[in-house]
Amino acid sequence: MQAEENTLEKVVFETSVEIKNADGLHMRPAMQFVDVANKFECDITVSNKANSVDGKSIMQMSMLAATCGTKLKIKAEGVDAQQAINALRELVEEEHFDEPTPSEQKKR
């Protein structure tokens, strides 16, 4: 995680995350993501190689169709950008949406 810019008008933070839960970013995880994103004032953009979408829109997030192992870039712009990035990274990489990773799934 790094701060790219820090001027008076705009705070921009960016991070890269990897989808770790086995089933990927299906409806429920997409919902969790936009729920977290909508708690913040800043604009949130999520991109994979091909597309950039609004991290607060469930339609756009779910259309990313990110499967397990997909790398996503999250960019936040606004006063609470840093908090937003922290919270989203935690949700995707550490909690992996409260869902099992492929190795955890095998153990079951």
Partner: protein
């Protein structure tokens, strides 16, 4: 422009705006609006989102404490979509930029999103499409709500696009405006196909995912000759099709020219061609096409297109209207064939697990005597108006036939007591459409005046194939040697007992089977009215020797494939235009 391939089930070409009917009968009305109406439509979109959200929250409350996480998640996901500003904006932007209705914009956008999901390889993700359709329905329900338009009240020509059409839905069609049918499911003998042929409009079925590619209001070409549906054709394609449609009509006119000529083979054997009808106003069509009477008058439609049960007078009026067209030519009225896929299932508290083997047709009538007697009363009363015959469907054993005849006698006594005139010598016949009836034909023949072979059910029950299930519908064939053996037995038994025999199933409307039927001894054929000229053309082109030789060869064949390709080749030589 998108081209879809399916199965052609009713000939002709239709070019018109599409009307989509889903299982809930929603239709998406006209798509274009004046630029000045755009703000109103955008407000309607916003309201629909708001109201759908309110309804969903209410629904969630009513569900109480939902234990299941999955159901909870579905509600939650739908709510997130309804709160999604990007989604709402995408829809309102479409209303603005294209000047279209709120319904059209919702439908278009949601279908775009759904088709995006269905293209994703990951099964878990592609299943999201179902959620999107659900949300589409929620929004459309708000938009169309109380003023949900009735398919019976069309004001312009349309092509109907649906997953599958039920008899109840097709019964409400206004024939003046419905120009063609196209469905995702179905086969050659599905209900959609039968209705289309009887209305004389083109139809293509088994298009699999057509409803995902079409939006209400899109221009659609239905080519019922080649089994093709073209969505949003370009102007060049439309021009070609208009020309082609014109040529097709010319062939029809050429065939119509023979309607005054008799249906006799080249060596002078007379074949009687009758029409199968469902509605009284089709009787005219039978006459126009050169039919000599009605071989099968299906009466269930009296029950399907109304809220309450028809009265005796309703029955009588419908029969009287039909009979008046034919005066002293035969009109064979089949008693109601309800049950299975028609009418009774939707009204039944506990649907049967296997309706086609359940309480349907004559079985249903024998357990609902009031209803049955009402119909018989009306048929008898109408019997003095012309040459009316009465026919019982789906008889499986001799008791059922005897019971039905006994009830008919009871009703005759009632009429005697009421001093109402009727034809005491009315001809009584049964349909042979189960393997058991076919095997027992020699016994059944002793107590009736005629047989009519109903090939659709006979094939379905003999081959154990659901004709509407596209996974197995290719197994369904009139050319199966087992089916042909049964049909031949019935024909021979009818001849031995010297009773009349006709064939009234779909098989009789298909050019390829005509020589075979004539060669096996059939002299009366009842078929879909639009097909009468073509079938007459075949009759007039063959000799008995041709037909007998063909039957001799076919009887030596053991596989359906061999028989059907032999029949196709033989027919192509007689009537090349039919292919």
């Amino acid at each position: 422009m998108e081209i879809k391939k399916g199965i052609a089930v009713s000939p002709g070409v239709a070019i018109a705006k599409s009307l989509i009917i889903d299982s809930e009968d929603y239709r998406i009305p006209q798509r274009s609006i004046k630029p000045s109406q755009r703000m109103t439509e955008i407000q309607r979109v916003r309201n629909a989102f708001k109201d759908a959200t309110g309804e969903l929250i209410q629904l969630e409350k009513e569900q109480g404490d939902i234990e299941q996480r999955k159901i909870k998640d579905i509600f939650a996901v739908h709510l997130r979509f309804l709160h999604d500003r990007r989604l709402r904006k995408r829809i309102t932007d479409l209303v603005y930029s294209e000047s279209v209705t709120a319904e059209y914009a919702v439908s278009t956008t949601m279908r775009e999103i759904a088709s995006h999901f269905t293209k994703v390889k990951d099964a878990y993700i592609s299943e999201r499409a179902a959620d999107i359709y659900d949300i589409e329905r929620r929004l459309l329900k708000q938009l169309l709500g109380s003023k949900r338009e009735d398919i019976g009240h069309l004001t312009e020509e349309v092509t109907i696009v649906a997953r599958e059409l039920s008899p109840t839905q097709t019964a409400g069609f206004n024939k003046e405006f419905v120009k063609g049918l196209a469905t995702d499911a179905g086969g050659r003998t599905s209900h959609t196909a039968i209705v289309a042929r009887s209305l004389g409009i083109p139809a293509v079925v088994a298009l699999e995912d057509l409803t995902e590619s079409v939006r209400g209001g899109d221009t659609v070409i239905i080519d019922g000759n080649r089994g093709i549906v073209i969505v949003n054709p370009d102007s060049e394609t439309i021009r070609q099709y208009e020309e082609y449609s014109h040529e097709f009509l010319e062939l029809e006119h050429k065939l119509d020219a023979i309607k005054e000529k008799p249906a006799v083979t080249r060596d002078g054997v007379r074949i009687t061609l009758l029409g199968n009808i469902e509605f009284p106003d089709e009787a005219e069509l039978v006459l126009q096409k050169g039919g000599e009477g009605i071989g099968l008058y299906r009466t269930e439609f009296l029950y399907l297109n109304r809220e309450s049960e028809p009265t005796e007078e309703d029955h009588y009026q419908a029969y009287a209207e039909t009979i008046s067209v034919f005066k002293h030519r035969p009109v064979t009225i089949r008693t109601v064939d309800l049950g299975a896929d028609k009418y009774t299932q939707s009204k039944r508290f506990a649907p049967e697990p296997n309706p086609f083997l359940g309480l349907r047709s004559i079985r249903f009538c024998l357990q609902n005597l009031m209803m049955f007697k009402t119909q018989l009363h009306a048929i008898l009363r109408a019997s003095v108006l012309g040459e009316v015959k009465i026919m019982f469907p789906l008889v499986t054993n001799i008791q059922e036939m005897m019971q039905a005849k006994m009830i008919l006698r009871d009703v005759m006594e009632d009429l005697d007591e009421e001093s109402i005139a009727y034809n005491k010598n009315i001809q009584i016949g049964i349909m042979i459409e189960t393997p058991s009836a076919a095997l027992m034909a020699s016994t059944l023949a002793r107590d009736v005046d005629f047989f009519s072979i109903g090939t659709n059910d006979l094939i379905q029950y003999t081959l154990a194939v659901d004709r509407g299930n596209e996974l197995v519908s290719t197994l369904y064939s009139s050319a199966d040697p087992a089916v042909l053996r049964l049909i031949r037995t019935v024909i021979q038994d009818a001849h031995k007992a010297q009773i009349d025999l006709s064939v009234c199933g779909e098989m009789a409307s298909e050019p390829v089977y005509i020589m075979l039927l004539i060669g096996m001894g059939v002299r009366t054929i009842s078929l879909a009215p639009p097909m009468i000229p073509e079938i007459k053309q075949i009759v007039r082109s063959v000799t008995m020797e041709d037909c007998n030789n063909l039957v001799r060869k076919i009887l030596g064949m053991n596989s359906e494939r061999q028989i059907s390709s032999f029949l196709r080749d033989a027919t192509r030589k007689i009537l090349p235009e039919a292919f």
